[in-house]
């Protein structure tokens, strides 16, 4: 995909005060670019979920946005802890969120399923002790 716009957003673990800012910026940019409403909405939902996952579950990482004429690519990379059982993690309602996250209303176990549902291509790679990489592609039009 030939990319015109490339943005990177560092996301820190446990930083609830800034949680949602990266996805809000992504959404604002897609609206400015005039990306169609339904694609914008899908990216908005998926980027919010993946950003929150970085805050809640990861040891820190970053979110990367690429926009080209044919699509939007959203990649999340973190530095751990990694997911031991991806199939389990992909199940609706399954969550390993902490008490703190649950007390803030997170941890419904819908994050990954929501991402998969909204992306046109969804790929997740994870290694315990190393980290997780999620790549999502959204076709334009």
């Amino acid at each position: 995909m030939s990319s015109f716009i490339h943005e990177e957003y560092p996301v820190e673990r446990g930083d609830y005060t800034r949680a949602g800012e990266a996805s809000a910026d992504i959404k604002r940019r897609l609206k400015q670019l005039g990306v169609s409403s339904n694609v914008m909405r899908k990216v908005a939902v998926a980027s919010y979920e993946v950003e929150l996952n970085l805050v809640i579950h990861s040891l820190g990482g970053k979110l990367m946005l690429d926009v080209g004429t044919d699509g939007v690519l959203l990649v999340s990379e973190d530095v751990g802890p990694g997911i031991p059982d991806i199939a389990m993690a992909m199940r609706e309602g399954y969550s390993t969120a902490s008490e703190e996250a649950r007390s803030l209303g997170f941890g419904a176990g819908m994050g990954l399923p929501n991402m998969k549902r909204n992306a046109d291509d969804f790929d997740i790679q994870s290694e315990v002790g190393k980290g997780t990489r999620i790549s999502m592609r959204f076709n334009l039009a």
């Binding site: 716009i5 959404k27 670019l33 990306v35 339904n38 908005a44 939902v45």
Partner: protein, 434 residues
């Protein structure tokens, strides 16, 4: 950018504008720029919310509404007061004196918009029973919020409830009832909304969801407040009794609508910036289990409109107390179901998106512009001071790319440039003759 000739009630009085940055900073759609020492409103972005009217201490932002004298343009005039009008008078014990005061200043009849709100309450109540509705359904009562959705949240347009606002329903019935009672032609009756805000005036001139408004004009509450006042304390032998219910009157305050249509699972938010925050959440699918969302651009709801005389907290309390004199019957019992088909209560025109925040119609050009904006932003100080006339450094960069200003309009950039030039002057002065 595409040229639009949109009607706006919110205008600038150039003679009063000092060119300060107060309005710039508060506009929810970044629709104001200061150029040549005066504010300018970008037509296609303005949603007529009136935030700038409230914030401008020089009163340079004004709302254009009709003069009371406009009623003389018709053989007969009917007033349809917003229920927020009831909250404007201190110590008022009943709604009746307000209705009679309107008659005293020249209207032949008065029809309460709260009565329209009763009918709309029932219509939304029925609507919510339909299967497969988008969640949440978003109220269409506040025209500033509907326009905000057109500009900033066009993807939420399908969530907007397709039922006309109480003002429109009231105007339709008021005209019909007047004609039936007095045996005159519909065009001989001028129906005037007594308005708390400029957004309603704009909604009459450029209607949302319908071709033509049923109202002939809007008269600002602030404008007639002084004229109503002498009549408020008069005791009449046969006062005009309010016919709306407690629920209809309560539409004047935030949560009034939601508690009438969906008390168990609704959210009411007031203040345009708060409304934006919640619409963002709706857009992120974070409020999918919510059934109904009521957003009001003004704090406190319509009682907080910029054309109200009374403080919104005081007015809210007054409306709450006055509502108790009305029928406690819920609109579902009070409004017959036959009303749902007797009048055209539903939109016959779609709400169109107005993506005025878009950089360009062509995606490639938009991406090139965004790249250039990013480069420019990196070089700007990030103070968001507004001295350049754009609300933030980012919007300034957007305006440069749009061709509306140049980099040296940033005084901080200019200062740096002058430093370099001064240094060059020194060097030049120190140069020895060859």
């Amino acid at each position: 950018m595409e040229q639009h000739n949109r009607y706006h009630s919110v205008r600038l009085d150039k003679t009063r504008c000092k060119g300060c940055t107060n309005c710039l900073k508060h506009c929810p759609t970044e629709a104001i720029r200061v150029r040549g020492g005066r504010a300018h409103i970008i037509d296609e972005r303005c949603i007529d919310c009136g935030e700038c009217i409230r914030i401008c201490e020089y009163h340079a932002k004004i709302a254009i509404t009709d003069d009371l004298s406009a009623i003389h343009g018709f053989p007969h005039a009917v007033a349809i007061p917003a229920p927020s009008l009831y909250g404007q008078f201190k110590g008022l014990k009943s709604i009746s004196p307000v209705l009679d005061a309107l008659k005293a200043i020249g209207f032949e009849e008065v029809f309460e918009v709260a009565r329209g709100a009763d009918i709309v309450s029932r219509a939304i109540h029925e609507k919510l029973r339909e299967p497969g509705l988008p969640k949440p359904l978003i109220s269409s009562a506040c025209p500033a919020v509907v326009r905000l959705i057109q500009v900033r949240f066009p993807d939420l347009i399908p969530n907007v409830v397709d039922i006309r606002q109480p003002m429109e329903v009231a105007a339709m019935i008021a005209r019909q009832e007047f004609c039936r009672k007095h045996g005159c032609a519909p065009e001989d009756v001028g129906v005037f909304f007594i308005t708390p805000c400029p957004a309603k005036m704009t909604a009459i001139r450029s209607p949302l969801g319908q071709e033509k408004s049923a109202c002939d004009g809007a008269i600002s509450m602030m404008e007639i407040y002084g004229q109503l006042l002498p009549h408020i304390n008069r005791i009449l032998a046969n006062p005009t009794k309010p016919t709306a219910t407690y629920y209809g009157v309560r539409w004047a305050v935030s949560s009034g609508e939601a508690s009438a249509v969906c008390p168990d699972n609704s959210l009411s938010v007031d203040g345009i910036h708060n409304v934006i925050r919640v619409l963002e959440e709706i857009e992120n699918n974070k409020l999918n289990d919510l059934v109904f969302f009521e957003g009001n651009a003004c704090m406190g709801g319509c009682v907080g409109g910029p054309l109200n005389f009374e403080n919104n907290y005081v007015a809210k309390n007054a409306v709450r107390k006055l509502a108790q004199e009305c029928s406690p019957q819920h609109p579902v019992e009070n409004v017959p179901v036959s009303m749902m088909t007797k009048y055209p209560l539903y939109f016959d025109h779609p709400i169109e998106p107005n993506p005025a925040m878009k950089l360009d119609d062509n995606l490639i050009v938009a991406m090139q512009k965004m790249e250039r904006i990013n480069q420019l932003v990196e070089d700007l100080p990030g103070y968001d001071c507004g001295s350049c006339g754009s609300p933030t450094c980012r919007t300034f960069a957007e305006d440069i790319v749009g061709g509306f200003c140049g980099e040296m309009d940033c005084i901080h950039k200019l200062k740096d440039q002058l430093k370099v030039m001064a240094q060059q002057m020194v060097e030049l002065a120190q140069t020895k003759r060859e």
